[in-house]
């Protein structure tokens, strides 16, 4: 668990503890060094989260683990958005682990629907292995106004619909991301997090 001061770390930690999966909440690079899987949580505004991550002293270790050692990483919500090149929401550059941009919901498509996109929505996986293995009729809790838009269609792991289809989850090799909050999506979320641990 990357603890850079943003995101509901406890929720993830509790879930993994109850699944009897050892979890380390890492605040230093040293604590992260032997990670077999990494969860990068996130909530709030892009620049705010990115700035905190930059200041955490964990970026180098993260790049090393994710890009060179290919440790599977799961970014959640803004955690996933940070993995893109950049976001319309902010000025700072992202991690660049995913070939994607983060854009606002298209006002033309959204019309009168409220923003942020808040609540439980159905998710349609494009692949039934990996994160969504064995999960029937998945639905998850979303809370966001911006979406990730991968340049390669193959990187889209799941979609959801709000005014139009948008990317709900991504996967490129060892890099995974969900726009929704599995740590706050009851059994569907617990199953997904378990699947991630099993990858």
């Amino acid at each position: 668990m990357v603890n850079y001061g943003v995101g509901n770390i406890q929720a993830f930690a509790h879930i993994y503890q109850r699944l009897n999966i050892p979890v380390v909440v890492a605040t230093t690079a040293g604590q992260m060094a032997r990670a077999e899987k990494i969860v990068l949580p996130g909530v709030g505004a892009f620049d705010w989260a990115m700035a905190r991550l930059n200041a955490s002293g964990l970026r180098d270790m993260l790049d090393e683990l994710v890009l060179r050692q290919r440790v599977p990483v799961l970014g959640v919500c803004v955690g996933m958005q940070m993995m893109a090149h950049r976001s319309e929401e902010g000025e700072l550059p992202g991690l660049g682990w995913i070939d994607a941009e983060v854009v606002h919901f298209d006002p033309a498509q959204i019309s009168h629907a409220p923003l942020p996109h808040m609540g439980w929505n159905d998710v349609r996986p494009t692949a039934s292995d990996s994160l969504f293995l064995g999960i029937e009729a998945p639905r998850y809790y979303f809370l966001h106004s911006y979406c990730i838009a991968p340049r390669q269609q193959a990187d889209v792991l799941a979609t959801a619909y709000y005014g139009s289809d948008f990317t709900a989850a991504v996967r490129i090799g060892n890099v995974f991301g969900t726009q929704f909050h599995p740590e706050k999506s009851h059994q569907w979320g617990i199953d997904l997090l378990r699947n991630f641990a099993d990858i």
Binding site: V43, A45, G119, Y141, S145, K184
Partner: protein, 263 residues
């Protein structure tokens, strides 16, 4: 498609759960931790917990309790009561709360909304507007400090102002309808809905699942919050937590899109 959110709303008073009628006559409902745990097992959409003493007594949020409640929630938790500073926002989010609600502070210090939104993001800033009909002309007015103080503000304009300042969700709480189990104030909901584009949640008055159905069929994307409905049972107001199951919940909302989708 996005579903309407059906939200139990729990009130904390003197450390215990209580339920009020028109913001008065509190009835003891039990231990917050067990209630939250039961709601979690019932897989509720989200949960709202409001400390109704904090504003009145000038108290800060009870962090131990909040942490314990957050630990039990596998769904989003919104916590409110006594929040006055951005630091408190941050602290509560760090304790595991998804959204922080403010009511009196939004009236007393509207800039708090903007500063909080900058820090934790709009999506975590909820403004609860307590509305009561007051005065000779029976106008709707925004109330503060547990509906004891009149603000002189008109709810629709206030809601719009809150949205402009950065609130990510507006909770419309009808003081008159609180605990009456007679239905939501749909008139108020309509007027505010016309004025704001952030997510809206109605609270106060829901007496049966029909009331919720009525609300969510008229507004497919909305939050339907209730206190008494999910905590009391029957004419003797027996305290028994209840909440519609998944199938029942899905049946309450009507499908918005007509495309043939496989979900």
């Amino acid at each position: 498609m996005l579903r309407p959110r059906i939200i139990p709303c729990l009130l904390i008073h003197k450390g215990g759960l209580f339920k009020t009628v028109q913001f008065g006559a509190p009835k003891y409902v039990g231990d917050p931790l067990n209630a939250v745990r039961i709601f979690n097992e019932k897989e509720v959409d989200e949960l709202m917990v409001l400390d109704i003493d904090a504003s009145r007594l000038g108290r800060a949020p009870n962090e131990t309790l909040v942490a314990q409640l957050a630990a039990e929630c596998r769904m989003p938790l919104c916590y409110g009561g006594g929040v006055k500073t951005v630091e408190q926002f941050e602290r509560l989010i760090a304790l595991g709360v998804e959204k922080v609600a403010v009511s009196s502070a939004a009236v007393d210090e509207p800039e708090l909304i903007t500063r909080a939104a900058e820090r934790v993001g709009s999506q975590s800033v909820v403004v609860v507007i307590d509305v009561k009909t007051t005065g000779l002309l029976h106008q709707a007015e925004v109330m503060t400090v547990n509906a004891t103080k009149r603000s002189g503000l008109e709810p629709v304009a206030f809601a719009r102002k809150m949205q402009d300042l950065g609130a990510g969700e507006i909770v419309l709480n009808s003081v008159d309808r609180d605990g009456q189990l007679q239905g939501y104030d749909l008139n108020l909901v309509e007027r505010v809905r016309q004025a704001v584009s952030v997510p809206l949640t109605a609270l106060g008055g829901a007496g049966s699942l029909d009331d919720i159905r009525g609300l969510v069929q008229r507004y497919p994307i909305i939050g339907a919050a209730a206190g008494s409905l999910f905590v009391f049972k029957g004419i003797y107001r027996a305290v028994l937590i209840n909440y519609p199951g998944r199938t029942e919940r899905d049946a309450l909302a009507r499908p918005v899109e007509t495309r043939a989708v496989s979900s």
